[in-house]
Symmetry: C2
Subunit: 349 residues, 2 copies
């Protein structure tokens, strides 16, 4: 898992070099032709990447996005009217039966389909109109890391293809920024010892980084067997905050931009409740002052000028989360590459 | 909370009597006019009802549904193109700023808007083209129960208005079925003692009953301070099942119909892992044999003939979940009406 976390800058660089020209060509082809809705189909970590894609696509293209509920099609045999939709399947292996059944249904209706996958020769790749390959190389750990960030990059490229006003220069800087975030490793490893006996936790974020809360929570469950809940900071206040008591551990991201003020409020509120907060934020974040522990994040190119300011943060920001899950698994004497009861490719209908 | 749980048959009856004629009139008005997509906007328990609505609407009307991410509009200032959408706001109080901002944005674009709310004189009700009132009467407990099932009923009526082939006779039987399910109270109270010291749990369901897993998990967090995770049985297998170990408590619904086989498989798998399973299922369910504990559910009219067989199960099926949360709060010496750190109306942007 750690080796694959460290391969991310290289994997992102390779994917960008290969797929950016395709995205540019697709952008020209699609000009003036916009789908009525974008439907994203995925499971597990890929579904977390799709959640990122959902925010990115709605914010930057203005198209409404629906995260598909595959069982509607696979179990109930209903086929939502997707003929005017762009349907995107996301799967590391390209071998998920439920994702592929949804894509087949969409194609049969005449929808334009795209596949984001690490396996260019997979069933998924053979099914879709256009493949956005994730060139992460073989992922051997059951806990997905480099394919998650690769899929996130795929969504930037897809948003660009759909006409989003993204700066390709900023996209080209992502691998280097990811490299800078890997330097957090020893600091995160030291911090992880404190959570050696943690059994429960909550992970929070909002907006473009919300998917990272889902992903860190999933990694804590898979690799550390921590019962890790995940919420948007807003949903957390609508009920689950009742969980927070003295010493209850809450991990959260406080990126620059539109979600910063809400993050600072919740850190303050959790401080009043004497919960333990671990805040991941850039050095000038107002959330850091009230945090129990903090991971100060390197700056992300463009965060002073990008609109929104957190636009290019989600890929580097998951890295301290991945490092934390890997380090904590080690603290707990667990093998993050082979979680109990799991295999790399899960088949569900 | 218990009093409000027991008011549900009456509240459902009142809502049905008032809103079914409106839904019938709207069905005639909307004939031949179908939106490109349905967007549902909600928070907290209302968001769980919206998740039910999502499955029901996609399965019975074939229209794609998107659960809105309010922050896209409220924080990022982006307005997804909703002019061809039907936008439905769901809020007990009708006073949620974020839901109302999304509805205003949708109306300004020309979208047809509907509000499902317990407060007919609320800001939300004043904003929308059509109100589907939930006539649950005042809900005083912070933990929402009767407004949740009232909102679910609102979604049946909305699906009917959009042309779904629902049997109004079956809808009229829902209050009586809910009454029958209230008879589980003493059995559930007895069972609850076993979980007096439970700190973590997982709640599972799938398809039309998936929203009930979200709702029971939220109730366990709010009223019992149990760290209760929630997953679809399919997503659970894609990672979080690693949590399951000897004695780990998993609550799940195993309704008749398309999701029954998958539920039985997961109960068997959890049995192999020596987890503790609490299965809520009708008497002939294959899931009961391998359950650690079970709550045998009364039959739901139509479950032998409805297509799908679980179509009319979700409203009565949440009732043992609500009873369990209320009884467990009592076992733990907590006041479910006044959870710590919560108020009845939560304002987020």
């Amino acid at each position: 898992m750690l080796a694959e976390i460290e391969q991310q800058p290289e994997a992102l660089e390779r994917t960008l070099r290969e797929v950016l020209p395709r995205a540019e060509a697709l952008r020209r082809r699609l000009e003036g032709r916009r789908p009525a809705v974008i439907v994203l189909v995925a499971r597990g970590t890929s579904d977390n990447a799709a959640t990122f894609g959902r925010y990115l696509l709605e914010i930057t293209t203005g198209l409404p996005v629906s995260l598909a509920a595959p069982s509607v099609t696979t179990l109930y045999g209903a086929a939502p009217r997707w003929q005017d939709a762009l349907v995107v399947g996301v799967s590391q292996s390209g071998a998920s039966t439920d994702v592929n059944v949804c894509l087949e249904t969409a194609r049969a209706q005449g929808a334009f389909t795209i596949g984001v996958t690490n396996e260019s020769r997979s069933a998924l790749a053979g099914l879709v109109d256009e493949v956005f390959p994730v060139l992460a190389g073989p992922e051997l750990s059951v806990a997905a890391t480099k394919t998650y960030t690769g899929q996130m990059l795929g969504f930037y490229l897809l948003a660009f293809a759909l006409g989003a006003p993204l700066d390709t220069e900023r996209l080209r800087e992502i691998p280097e920024t990811a490299e800078a975030f890997l330097s957090l490793r020893s600091e995160v490893e030291q911090l992880s010892e404190r959570y050696r006996f943690m059994e429960r936790a909550v992970v929070l974020a909002r907006g473009l980084n919300y998917a990272n809360a889902l992903e860190l929570s999933l990694k804590l469950m898979e690799t550390c067997y921590v019962t890790a809940e995940r919420f948007s900071t807003a949903d957390f206040r609508h009920g689950p905050i009742a969980l927070a008591e003295r010493d209850f551990p809450v991990f959260l991201w406080a990126p620059p931009g539109p979600t910063a003020a809400g993050a600072a409020e919740i850190v303050e509120k959790l401080g009043e409740l004497q919960a333990e907060t671990v805040v991941m934020a850039p050095v000038d974040s107002p959330s850091l002052a009230k945090a129990t522990r903090s991971i100060v994040l390197p700056s992300v190119p463009g965060e002073r000028v990008a609109r929104p300011a957190d636009l290019y943060t989600p890929i580097p920001y998951i890295i301290p989360g991945q490092l934390l899950a890997a380090a904590l698994a080690e603290q707990k004497g667990l093998d993050p590459d082979q979680p109990r009861a799991l295999r790399k490719v899960t088949q569900t209908l």
